[in-house]
């Protein structure tokens, strides 16, 4: 039997985007909540909680994009050209976010800091929404022509289901971020933030339930692979358990337990998304025969093999130094002369 390199790369690209959701997810969430704290010190604590790591987190997106280009060029080409204006907005949001973090604390003027605080927060919210909307469109399906080109319009991307997924993603990242920031703070600020976690959690669980119902009702195709491979049902089961584990940990005051459960939630949600889409990369709706699958969108097996070698060398290195760097910056945020 031939080894299924396309499936391997579907999983690997998925892992890169999952890494992005897990890691940048909390720093986007911190950004989304940023304007809700009012004093300068509190805002500096927010920014510095992600200061040394946000940049490395964003690399998961860039590398995910590169890996998608290399492994599935047809999907990369179709999605990015098809979602042109949406991606331009995302790029601009990410640019503003990057410079807002860097620029904000470089000048003492109140107006200056206010501008970059707003930029940081708005761009974090917009990025989360757009990422969710993009995923929502992949799940719902977009109209593709026989030549694999997107045959719809910009406004056609703003259907109710993708918008719902946009809000769900925002809710998920906000919850993830609020749990993270509790870990990085102490004293009165931490106490205040703990109160927020409950609200973000309720917001997320509400969105999650609606999204799940909408998916089951309107997109039964997302269940096809699950039905064919019943052992995969452990994924949604674990997903629900992970979500239930968040309030349990929080009510017992276990911050790390809650954060790890939130990470597990993201992990299983991304896994569900992957299982639901498989073997499609970009589902064509209408005209499903034009869909981009992992087979007709993939690079040659020779390229996938080379890429596998790179991943085998690169990923352990990346994981080892990412873990070490997180370890160095563990603990509560302390503002010092090197902080933002």
């Amino acid at each position: 039997m031939n080894f299924d390199w396309q499936t391997l790369w579907f999983v690997l690209v998925g892992i890169l985007f999952m890494g992005y959701a897990l890691l940048d997810g909390f720093d986007l969430g911190v950004g989304a909540l940023h304007l809700l704290v009012k004093t300068d010190t509190e805002r500096r604590i927010f920014i510095n909680s992600i200061g040394p790591i946000w940049d490395g987190n964003e690399v998961w997106l860039v590398t995910g994009g590169g890996a998608l280009f290399a492994a599935f060029p047809e999907a990369y080409a179709t999605v990015f050209s098809g979602f042109y204006l949406a991606f331009m907005l995302l790029l601009i949001a990410l640019i503003f976010r990057a410079v807002a973090i860097e620029f904000r604390s470089k000048q003492p003027m109140k107006w200056w800091r206010q501008i970059w605080d707003v930029s940081f927060s708005v761009s974090s919210i917009v990025s989360s929404l757009l990422i969710g909307i993009a995923m929502g469109n992949l799940v719902w399906g977009i109209p593709l022509g026989a030549d694999h080109e997107y045959a719809g319009t910009f406004l056609g991307l703003l259907k109710p289901y993708p918008l719902l997924l946009g809000f769900t993603t925002l809710a998920l990242f906000t919850m993830h971020g609020s749990i993270f920031i509790v870990l990085k703070t102490e004293g009165a600020l931490q106490k205040k933030l703990k109160g927020w976690v409950k609200n973000t959690m309720i917001f997320f669980i509400l969105c999650y339930v609606i999204t799940t119902l909408a998916t089951l009702i309107f997109i039964p195709r997302m269940l096809t692979t699950l039905q064919q491979q019943p052992f995969l049902f452990i994924v949604p089961v674990f997903n629900v358990l992970a979500i239930a584990n968040i309030p349990r940990n929080i009510s017992r005051g276990r911050g790390w337990g809650a954060f790890l459960s939130s990470c597990a939630t993201l992990f299983f949600l991304m896994a569900l998304l992957g299982i639901g889409l498989y073997p499609n990369m970009v589902f064509s709706n209408p005209a499903p025969e034009n869909s981009l699958t992992i087979y007709n969108a993939a690079s040659s097996v020779a390229t996938l093999k080379i890429m596998s070698l790179m991943a085998a060398i690169g990923l352990p290195l990346i994981l080892s130094y990412t873990v070490s760097i997180y370890w160095v910056f563990r603990g509560k945020v302390k503002l010092d002369s090197h902080s933002y």
Binding site: G51, D55, G65, A70, A77, T78, F87, L91, M307, Y321
Partner: protein, 446 residues
């Protein structure tokens, strides 16, 4: 304007703005390694102060590079999706490798570099600096591999797809990586980066000396940067020569355009001039036979001229001629500046020669200009192809993206980059003016 012109304009302008920053990261990264290395080996506090000061500047430059770089990773898909479909199998893996081997390294260790001073031991911090510097160089490796493949494609074959389309697929990955122009161009990009970084340090140091501020600090940094600048500028001359030789046999139309060389035969080398494209003539001051000599080793050996290519297969000639010659002229100037600086240092006159310090203050712009002009020559010189002799730029566009949409994004990027450029200069200036004495003002500033 049509979608092709607009997409080219957008790519050209976003990459040119982005390319202000990566060479600075490469060169400044090397300077940081040197500063911190001296600190570790001598234990002198002064080197640590220098390293910390330039690390703050590095942080700002790096953030700009990241913010503008993310656009580049996705623009192949958004604006050049036909190109992406055609080359993804070959070109995509180089971009993915850049992420896996370079971006993670530099972005990961950057956190330690900027924020780790008090959290990790000096030796570990030096290691982080080294990794960031290495990461910056690695990212150049992979992007030059990708771009060189566009100039001199190798290690691929063309394969028909079920839908009738054709695409390039890898046959030999090592040939893709070490295609005929990779190594020379990589060396050229590295040296351009070292020049950009070292001349930036020279400029800041000379400014301090002229303002009589931080004298010992400035003199120490200036000496280190001057050595790097002198070595890099000289090596750049050789790498440029080697690069041009490779162009002469891999992309003869480009070399002919560089020199405005129309008729195949012995070729002169123009010091400066003007190409009259209408009448196929080049006017200017030239040294007869020198191009032939540089390329082949003999003054009367023939060099392929533009007459070997029909007009639809030639790049814009005068544009390429001018950008190329300006780049070479700047390269020569940089050698002169750096080595004259060494001479003054040797004679003990460096700190007294105020006019020369003023030259150094403004010299920071020269490597920047040369880097940009060099890329203009290389990329415009490859036209009308996006992959030399294989795919025309006009066939590479996204089919679904309309001119109006591209115009919208150009206007958006235009405003944003203008804003970023102004803020960058403002903050950079602020850091240079106050960066050394930040500790006292802490708590309010960062």
């Amino acid at each position: 304007m049509d979608a092709l012109t607009l997409s080219r304009a957008q790519f050209g302008f976003t990459i040119a703005f982005h390319y202000i920053f990566p060479p600075l990261s490469i060169g400044l990264g090397l300077c940081l390694v040197a500063f911190e290395g001296f600190y570790l080996s001598t234990g002198k506090k002064l080197y640590l102060e220098i390293a910390r000061f330039y690390t703050r500047i590095f942080g700002l430059i790096f953030a700009m590079g990241v913010a503008t770089g993310i656009v580049m990773e996705f623009q192949f898909g958004t604006n050049w999706s036909s190109y992406s479909r055609f080359v993804g199998d070959v070109f995509g893996s180089a971009l993915a490798a850049e992420g896996i081997f370079a971006f993670f390294l530099e972005s990961g260790f950057l956190g330690l570099l900027l924020f780790g001073w008090d959290r990790i031991k000096p030796g570990t911090h030096f290691f982080a600096t080294l990794m960031v510097c290495l990461g910056a160089h690695f990212s150049a490796v992979w992007i030059v591999v990708a771009n060189s493949w566009q100039q001199t494609p190798a290690g691929y074959h063309l394969v028909g797809q079920p839908g009738g389309a054709i695409r390039a697929e890898v046959t030999d990955f090592w040939q893709v990586i070490f295609n005929p122009s990779t190594l020379d161009r990589l060396w050229h990009v590295f040296m351009g980066g070292w020049q950009a970084g070292s001349f930036a340090v020279l400029s800041v140091s000379a400014y301090f000396l002229l303002k009589k501020k931080n004298i010992e600090f400035a003199q120490t940094a200036l000496k280190i940067a001057l050595v790097i600048a002198a070595v890099a500028s000289l090596l750049q001359l050789f790498s440029g020569h080697e690069s041009a030789k490779v162009v002469s046999f891999t992309q003869p139309a480009k070399l002919a355009a560089y020199e405005g060389h129309y008729t195949t035969g012995p070729a002169p080398l123009y010091l400066f001039g003007w190409v009259d494209e209408k009448n196929s003539q080049t006017h200017g001051v030239s040294i007869p036979g020198l191009l032939s000599y540089l390329v082949t080793g003999s003054t009367d050996a023939p060099v392929t001229g533009l007459d070997a290519f029909t007009p639809d297969k030639r790049p814009p000639i005068n544009f390429v001629f001018q950008t190329y010659h300006a780049m070479v002229a700047i390269g020569m100037t940089l050698i002169a500046v750096a080595w004259f600086g060494l001479f003054l240092w040797w004679r003990g006159l460096l700190w007294k020669t105020r006019w020369f310090l003023w030259v150094l203050v403004f010299s920071v712009l020269l490597p920047q200009a040369a880097n940009q002009l060099g890329w203009f020559s290389a990329e415009v010189g490859r036209q009308p192809y996006i992959v030399y002799n294989l795919m025309k730029t006009s066939d590479a566009l996204s089919k679904t993206v309309k001119a109006g949409e591209i115009l919208t994004s150009i206007i958006l990027f235009g405003f944003i980059y203008l804003l970023l450029g102004v803020l960058f200069i403002y903050l950079l200036n602020d850091k240079i003016q106050h960066g050394l004495h930040m500790k006292e003002e802490k708590g309010h500033r960062a």
